[in-house]
Symmetry: C2
Subunit: 479 residues, 2 copies
Amino acid sequence: MADKKLVEEITSMEEDFAKWYTDVVIKADLIDYTSVKGCMVIKAPGYAIWELIQKQLDERFKATGVENVYLPMFIPESLLQKEKDHVEGFAPEVAWVTHGGMNQLTERLCVRPTSETLFCDFYSKEITSYRDLPRVYNQWCSVVRWEKETRPFLRSREFLWQEGHTAHATEEEATERTRQMLNVYAEFCENVLAIPVIRGQKTEKERFAGATETYTVESLMHDGKALQTATSHNFGDGFAKAFGIQYTDKDNTLKYVHQTSWGITTRTIGAVIMVHGDNSGLKLPPAIAPVQCMVIPIRQKSEGVLETAAKIRDDLIAAGVRAKSDESDKSPGWKFSEQEMRGIPLRIEIGPKDIENGVCVVVRRDNKEKIEVAISELTARVPELLTQIQKDMLEAARAHRDSHIIEARTYEEFCDAVENKPGFIKAMWCGDQACEDKIKEDTTATSRCIPFEGGEPISDKCVCCGRDAKHLVIWGKAY
Amino acid sequence: MADKKLVEEITSMEEDFAKWYTDVVIKADLIDYTSVKGCMVIKAPGYAIWELIQKQLDERFKATGVENVYLPMFIPESLLQKEKDHVEGFAPEVAWVTHGGMNQLTERLCVRPTSETLFCDFYSKEITSYRDLPRVYNQWCSVVRWEKETRPFLRSREFLWQEGHTAHATEEEATERTRQMLNVYAEFCENVLAIPVIRGQKTEKERFAGATETYTVESLMHDGKALQTATSHNFGDGFAKAFGIQYTDKDNTLKYVHQTSWGITTRTIGAVIMVHGDNSGLKLPPAIAPVQCMVIPIRQKSEGVLETAAKIRDDLIAAGVRAKSDESDKSPGWKFSEQEMRGIPLRIEIGPKDIENGVCVVVRRDNKEKIEVAISELTARVPELLTQIQKDMLEAARAHRDSHIIEARTYEEFCDAVENKPGFIKAMWCGDQACEDKIKEDTTATSRCIPFEGGEPISDKCVCCGRDAKHLVIWGKAY
C-alpha cells in the first residue's frame, strides 16, 4: 500500500492537467513556495536540472563566439524610458526600488525585467569604431516581472534566464545572428530537452517590445497547449538611435549599429515536465537528468547485495553515467515509485537471486520496459540505453505533436478545433491585426508563429475575414 | 613610443596605490562604470575570471556534499526582522522595493543583502525529522548592500557571490562544517588564487550579525592593507529559535537545528589584482587566467609566420592550454604591453628567424623571464611553465606577506607600526572590546582575527591597556 502512496498523491493528468502539473512540481521535489508571493525556491533536484541546461547551452553559445558578462540588476527610470515601445511594454510590470538604506532615492530604479536598456547604455560607451564590432555578449541572471497570476516555472515574478545582446555593423549580420541563435535554441530543445519545436516568426502583435522582428521556437505540451520556448529578436537600429550607439565605419562615416537579443528561461523546465511527464510523475531526458540511473537493491539485508549495488553504481560513474544507489531503509516498491516520480531515466533492480545469476533488471522510465542485462555488461549497456531513451523521448514527443496539428480552412473549423481538438492549428491569415484580435477574443487562441518550414498555403483566404491570405500561421492556446 | 602608451596610462603603485588599482581595473578591461551609482559592468575578461573561480570552487563544494539551490532575491520586511541582531546589522544598508507595477506593495521587500532569513524560512518547512538532516545548500547569486563609498570589486552596491547555508542535528556537526568550509576557502585561495591566507576567528565585535562564531581567511595586499577574503559563520541554534526550525530526533524529542553560512564574493578579483599586480598591470595566476598563453607573431607579414603562430596556438589548445594568438595589425610592442596589462601568464614571441631556427621566446608575466624553447617542445614546456608560475606566484605573495608581519609589544610600537610599517601586526589583547574600539579610533587598524596557527603569545599583557592578555590578535588596516 505504502508503495503506491507517492503516486496516488498526484492528480491524474486526464482529470486535471493543471493540478497534475503542480503536483508533479512539488512531489518531484523541484520547487517550494515561499513567503514572497509569486517567487519560488528552486530546490536541489530542480536546480541541478537548470545547471545541466546552463552548461550545455553555454557551451553552444561559446562555440558561436559568445562571451559572458554581468550588468547591474537595477535600471534607472530615465534609462528604461529611452526607447518608447520598450518602456510601454515593460513599465507596467516592473518592481521599483525607491529607498536605499534609510534614504529615499532621487530617482527610482527598477529591478531589470530584461536588460536591453543597460546593454545599450554600455554599448554607447564601448563602441566607437568598426573595429569594436561585432559585440556578442550574454549574461546568466535573474529577472523580475510583476505578474498577477503566477505558476511554478511557467510564470513567476522572479525567474532565471540568459539574455544575449549583440551589436553589429550591418543589418545583414544582425539578421544572421538572430537566425543563428534561434537555430541554437531549436537544436538544443530537440537534442537536449528532447522537445521538438516549430521555428518561425512572430506577427507584429506578438513581437517583443522594441523589436523589428521576433523569431520563436514553439513547442506543444501534452495537453495540447503551446509554449513559447525561446525567442530571438532583431532590433534593427531602433535602440541604437534611441541610445546614440554609433561607430565610425571604414569609409569614415558615422553609422548606427544593428542589434539583437535572445533568451531562454527556467520556463523550459516547465516545458520538460509538460511534454514528457506522465501519471507516475516526471520523465527527464537523460541529457538533463542530474541522476541518470538509480541502482535499487532488493532484499538489501542479504549478504553482498548492498556491496554489489555500490559496485555497480561506482562502475557506472566510472563509465561516465550519473548514477546513484538508494540504500535507505524504504521498501523497494517505494524506491521504484520515487525514482519514477523524480523522472530518473533508468533504474537497476538488483537482489540476491540476480547476483547468483550474474544478471539484473534494468527498467526504462520512458516506456517502463524491463530489460535483463548481465551485470558484467552494464557499463556498456547503460550508456547505450540512455542514448536510446534520449532519442525515443524526442520521437515520442514528435509523434504526439504531429498528431495534434490540425488544418482549419473555415472559421467554423477553426473554432471547433480550438474548442475540441487541443493542439496547433494551421490556418491562413490576411496579415491584419484585427483578425488576430478577433480570433483571440472569440477563442483565446493566439498566433504562435509564421513557420519557417511547413508554411505552404492551405487556402488563399484568411480563415477569419475571408480576404486574401498573406501567410500560413500556426495558432494555439498558449501558456 | 606607442608601444609604451598603454603602460604609461596607469599610475605607478608607489605613487598612488588606490589610483593604480582603479587604472588597472579599467585598462585590463575588467569592468566599466554604469549609470547606476555603485554598480558596475563586469566585462568579458573580468567575468571569465569569475567563471573560472566559480567552476573551481563549485567542484570543491560538491566534493563535500554541497547541493546548489536558488532562493528568491526579495525578502519581506517582516521576515528580515525575525532575528534581532541580523536585522540590526543589515536593515540600514538594504534597497527597498515598495511598488510592483503600478501598485504600492502592502509590505516592503528588501533586495537580499544575504539570505539567512530566507533559508531559515525554507528550512522551517523542509525539516521535521532527524532523517532530513543535514541540509548542505549553496546558491550562486547577486546581493545588494547600499554602500555609501564604492570601489570596483572591493565594495559595490551589487556584487556576485556564493552563499552556503547548512542545517545540522548537532552543535558539533555545525562547528565541523564551519571549519571545513573555511579550510576549503583557504586551500582554494592558496592553490587557485595563489594568495596565502591566515585562518582565524573574528572577535565578537567583528562577527557577522547573528553568528555565535565567525571564521575568516585574511590576506595581505601589496600596499600592506588586509582584505577579508572569505568567511564562515556558525549560528548555533539562534536562527533556529527565531524561526522555529525544529526536528524530531531519534529519541522522539523535538530539538532545534544548528546552522552555518559561508561565502566568498567577486571581491576576490580585487584581491588578485592587489596581491599580484605590478606597474605593468594585472598578473593572473594561471588557474584563473581565461587566456593562459598569448602567441604573438613578429613580422607577421613574412611568409609562414601567421600560420606557425596559429599552429602553435592550436597545438597548445589541444594540449589543454587556454591559448590565443594575436593577429591584429597592432605592433608587437603594443601587443606585449597589452598581454602584460591583462595579466596573461605567458606570451610566445615567434618571428621568421625563430621559425628558421625551430625555436621561440617564451616570456613569463610573473617575473618577466625570457626563455628560449624549441617549437617542438612547446606543448610539453608551456604546461610545465604554467604550473611553475602558479607555484612561484604563491611563494612570492607569501614572501611579501611574511615580510610584512610585525610584532608589537607596547602601544607605542603598535601605533608606530600602523603608521610606518604597512602590514599585519601581531599584538596581545585582553579580550575587552573597549581596547579594540580605542585601537580603531586611535589608529584605524582593526582586529583581523585570532589566528588558528601562529597564535603563540608574544607577551602576557594587552598591547592597549596593559591588563592580562587573553589572545594574540592579528591587526591591520583593512579594505
